[in-house]
Every structure is written in C-alpha cells, then in structure tokens.
Symmetry: C2
Subunit: 348 residues, 2 copies
C-alpha cells in the first residue's frame, strides 16, 4: 500500500526507512513485529540485524548499523518481543552501536529504552531520538463528537488478536489499488511501526481515549478513506472501554467485523464465551450509531489461518450465505476479498 500509511497526524512520527533489529531471538513467535514490517512496509526496511546466536530471519539483507545507514536507514527498530517485555543486556552493544552510527532507536517494548543506563546520554551526544512506541501521546483533547468530513472504516472484532490490524492493512491496500485516496490509521505498536505514525490507543488516559481517536482521523476530502486499526472488543471484560472509545471517536461509516472460526472463549478469559459474529455486528452498529447514525457493516473478516484451503473456502462461503453480507479472509485474498471491498464502497 506504499504511502497509504504515511502522513501527518497527531501522535508519533517515526523516522523511516528502518533497520530491523532481531536480537538473538530463536523463537519466530517473538518476531511478529519484524515479520509485520517485512510484509507491510518492506520498501521502508533496508535490512535486518541479527546478533550472534540469533536464529530468526526476515529474509531481508543482513546489515550492521553502518551498512544500513549507508543504504538510507534513519532508525533501528526493535522488531522482537521478549517474554516480559524486557530488553536483555546482550542487546545493549548493538543499540549503542546504532546510536553512534546516527540511527534513531524505535521500541515498542514494555521496558523503556530510556531506562537502560547510559542510553539517554549517549543518544543526546549523537543527536538521535529514543522513540518509545508505547508512550502515550501528550495532551490529547477531550472528544467532541463533532462529525468530521471524509469516509472512515474501522475494523472491530469478536475478541482481541484475531486480525483487526491485518484486515485494516489489507483493506487499505485494496482501496489504494482501486485508485482511491486512502490512509491506514494505526492504533497499536506494530501498526504504528508499519505506518510510521499513529496513536497507541491502549496507552491513552481513559478520559481522553475518544478524543485521541478523533484526532487520529481528522477532517478529510469527502472521497478520502481512513482505514482505522481496531483494538480490543466491546465484549472483552478488560478492553471493552478502549473498543468503545475507539468506535465513538472514529465515528466509522463502515465497520468490518473480524472473527476467528473455532474460537469459543475470549483470549486469556476462558470464563467468557466468545460472542457470535451476529452479536458483534449488532452491538457495534448499536453503539456506533451514537456518533455516526449512518454506520453500517460492510463485511466480515474471517481469520482462517488454522484451516486448510478447502475448509477455509467452505467456511467463508457458508458464513457469507448465512449472514447475507461479504465474508473474506483478507490474507487469502481472491474474489471473496473483492466482494468485501465492493461492499465497503458500495453503500458509501
């Protein structure tokens, strides 16, 4: 989607292109951020930096900080998570090397770069920034509820972690392919790194959450689309408030409801049954009408990663028949995705 995620918005602005730092990780599951950047911002990633002992690769060129800088890199992004979110001491020499080379550091870790002894002073010496993607935006406004110009799509879900980010990225890419003026609006750490800007909704103080969401998708040309990465779920016992703030502040014209077939309970909350797709559609429309009475559901995004191709196609077709609206797995693409994009544009 190229430039679809870039632009001037309130919140973070990350210096691109990136060098992806993978540390000494041996577990691919910890490198989701790096893989996401490779898949969705590849033209803005000059290469990867793996420490000795590391066994995970994105397949991008292996570069040290100086080589990356020579190829135009402006930041080194920590593309791996660790259990607990800590930054291990073994990474420090590489972080210091990047700073001395003049690369900004970008981190979405729970533990902050600024808490690593000596790093703040070193960064000041070399005039580079330590950018913590989990830091909340400063001074977001109180929500106003004022209707803004332009069109907005928000991905919502029956639960967390079932494809809201990649659904939004795919929809933004498909709208761009059709020649539309579109931006992906990021609300989480990985999405922000992909887009190069955005607002970490989970880090905003509760009273300002809807206001921060309003700021994320400002007034735009009437034909412009903002495709907003959803967070949480209205049905989640911990995160429903974030989801509602984002729904109200985004005032979407269109929602796409994301779901994973076979998931029966909320992630990490086995006492909570997953809502049905129908319930998720109904509640998002009911509550979303408060700030946009014209809200509609244009489709359902099914995460069929656990299914074989035939099984996935059957599940998608059956759900579309049952609901009477387009259903697709964005990562599988194909005619189903085309129909979902038609549906997004159709009633707009």
């Amino acid at each position: 989607m190229n430039q679809a995620g870039l632009g001037s918005v309130a919140g973070l602005e990350l210096p691109q292109p990136y060098l992806l730092f993978l540390g000494d990780t041996t577990e691919p599951g910890y490198a989701k951020t790096a893989f996401g950047l490779r898949d969705w911002a590849r033209e803005r990633c000059v290469g990867e930096y793996v420490l000795p002992g590391g066994a995970v690769s994105t397949g991008l060129p292996s570069l040290n900080a100086a080589e990356a800088k020579a190829r135009g890199a402006r930041s080194m992004v920590i593309g791996v998570a660790n259990a607990g979110g800590a930054i291990p001491p073994t990474w420090r020499p590489a972080l210091e090397e990047a700073i001395r080379t003049g690369l900004h550091l970008v981190s979405g870790m729970h533990n902050r770069l600024r808490d690593i002894p000596g790093l703040v002073a070193l960064a000041a010496d070399y005039n580079v920034r330590l950018i913590e993607v989990r830091d909340p935006p400063s001074d977001p406004p109180i929500g106003t509820g004022r209707k803004r110009t332009g069109k907005r799509l928000l991905t919502v879900g029956t639960d967390c972690a079932l494809g809201k980010k990649y659904t939004a990225l795919t929809v933004a890419r498909e709208l761009a392919r059709r020649g539309l003026d579109v931006r992906f609006r990021a609300t989480g750490q990985t999405g922000i790194m992909i887009a190069g800007c955005g607002t970490p909704m989970d880090a905003v103080v509760a009273d300002f959450a809807a206001g921060a969401a309003e700021l994320l998708s400002p007034d735009a040309h009437p034909d412009h689309w903002d495709v907003i990465e959803g967070q949480g779920s209205l049905f989640h016992p911990a995160y429903a408030g974030v989801a509602l703030s984002l729904l109200h502040g985004s005032q979407p014209d269109v929602v796409v409801v994301c779901h994973e077939p076979g998931r029966t309970v909320m992630l990490g909350h086995p006492g909570y049954a997953l809502p049905t797709v129908d319930e998720a559609i109904a509640l998002n429309l009911q509550l979303g009408r408060r700030t946009n009475p014209a809200i509609r559901c244009a489709g359902v995004s099914l995460n069929t990663g656990a299914l074989g191709t035939d099984e996935a196609e059957r599940a998608i077709a059956a759900e579309s028949d049952r609901l009477g609206i387009p259903v697709a797995d964005p990562l599988r693409g194909g005619p189903a995705l085309d129909r979902m994009v038609d549906g997004i544009l159709g009633g707009a």
Copy 2:
C-alpha cells in the same frame, strides 16, 4: 456515613482529618469540593482556612495551619478550583506555611503542587507529602472479569454531572443507617477526598481502566455492599469508554440510574440529545450483563435541584409510576428514598 468511605483499597490514601483551604475565592461555585467535604466528611474536617480577600466560607471554624494541626488535622486540602485549574501565586505562602506546620497537602487541581517552584524540596524538608488526587494509580492490573464476592451497586447516568457521586454517598449512608456493612468507593477527585481513598478513573490508562475498577471493589463478605461512584455515561461521546470500563470492572449487582429532568442535550455537547431514562436503564443492563448476568436496576435518582418542592415531588411520583420502579431525589430524602433503598435491598 462516618466510616463508610474509609478503608484499605488500592489507589490513593489521604491522611485525615483535613483543614479545608479556600484561598481567596469569591465565587461559591468554585468551592464545590470544600462544600462536598463539609457536607459528607464533616467529622473529618477540623476547620477552614480563608485568605484575606476571600469571600466564601463553609461555616466551619476559621483556623490557620498551626491551629488546625493542634486540633488534629493531618492534611490541608485545596477545596477550591480555579478557572483553568491553576494554583495562583497568592496561595503559595499559605501552602508553605501548612508544610512548615507539618500538614500534608492534598490537591485535585489540574496544575500540580509538585510544579510549584520550591514546594517539593520544602515538603521533603518537613517530611510531608504533596498528594495529587489527579495522579493516576501506579501499575493497575489488566481486568480479569472474575466474579468477586460481596454485593456492589454502581450509580450510572444519562449524562455527566447530574448526581452520581451524591447518589452513591446517600445510598451508602442509608445502607449504613440500616446497619449494613457498606463502603462508598470513590472514582473522582471530590469523592476520593470525601472517602479518603479511591481511584481517579479518569486518569487511568485506557487498557487498565476495567482492571482499576476491579481493584477498587475487591472480594468482600457476601453481605457487604460496595457503593461505587459512577463516571461519565455510556451515551457520552467523550466518556462512554470510561463508563463502560467502570461498569464492566465494577460488575454491579445493582445500578441506580441518575438523571436530571429537563436536561435535553449532553453537557457541553449540544449536538447530542440526552438519552431517555429508559434507554439508559436498558443499555446499562445490556452491557453490564457481560460481567454480571444478575445485574438489575433498583431505581432512578432524579436531580430535582432546579425544581420547587411540589414540582419535584410530582416529577418523582410521575416517573416512578411510569417506570414501575422506585424513583427518588437522594438530596430530598423522604419516603421515596426509603423505597429506593428497599428496592436496592429487596432483590439482592
């Protein structure tokens, strides 16, 4: 309600009794916090401190810091707000005098005590604390959705600023009068000052808001009541997320819906029609069922402050007839309030 608001909970703990600082305010509307403390925590307020030029009084004994200290005061509370939330330079000598006398300072102002030049060092010298009631709690947990023991009531509303705090305080006092084991659980600045503890829900980071609400009303004896001060409104374009986090995290057995007759649009959001009481009851029960399937609405609290006595009584009776549930103005008390408390206990 005496001790109904006191107790060990996560969040702030304020040293009581208080000396109420009124500054040089001439506008009673700015002294709502001081009046709230006088009305609801009078036995924990030794007196008031008014600067020369001030023209607002709570009627409590006029004391300087040393006199208040001699009468047992442990903190001086800034009981006035200013337009803009600033702390004017004319107040500084009195704040410094209180510190030198050994009183902690408690403030709910937007501008922080710690930003007044020299005050942090002075407080350290005299071993007193600068307690900022707007500071968010440190490290609240993620919500779990686990059902806790004990009984809970949450005041909710059709809008902000129509009586959720005073309804909760009144209900807690009435339950205590009937001999029940009850605590008022504060979620806003004035409520926290009255209770001496609580959690400023508006200052919690969005991802932790439901978790902070869970922590506020921990497991308790099966017959114990926590009466929780509501915040915002599920219908408010800026604050619905906070209201939903508090509803989910509080998992109330009972809600009381607060409303102001005659208010037709949301406070500060004239483009947003106020929901009806019926809509507010329905949506709070619908969404509250997610964490407590047994949730019920036991009554409606009408803020009839703008009406004469006869008019208020007619409005209360008419609304009770129409809805078929108890309706009362807690500040007017009387048999209507008794019926509402009966309703709270009746189905529990």
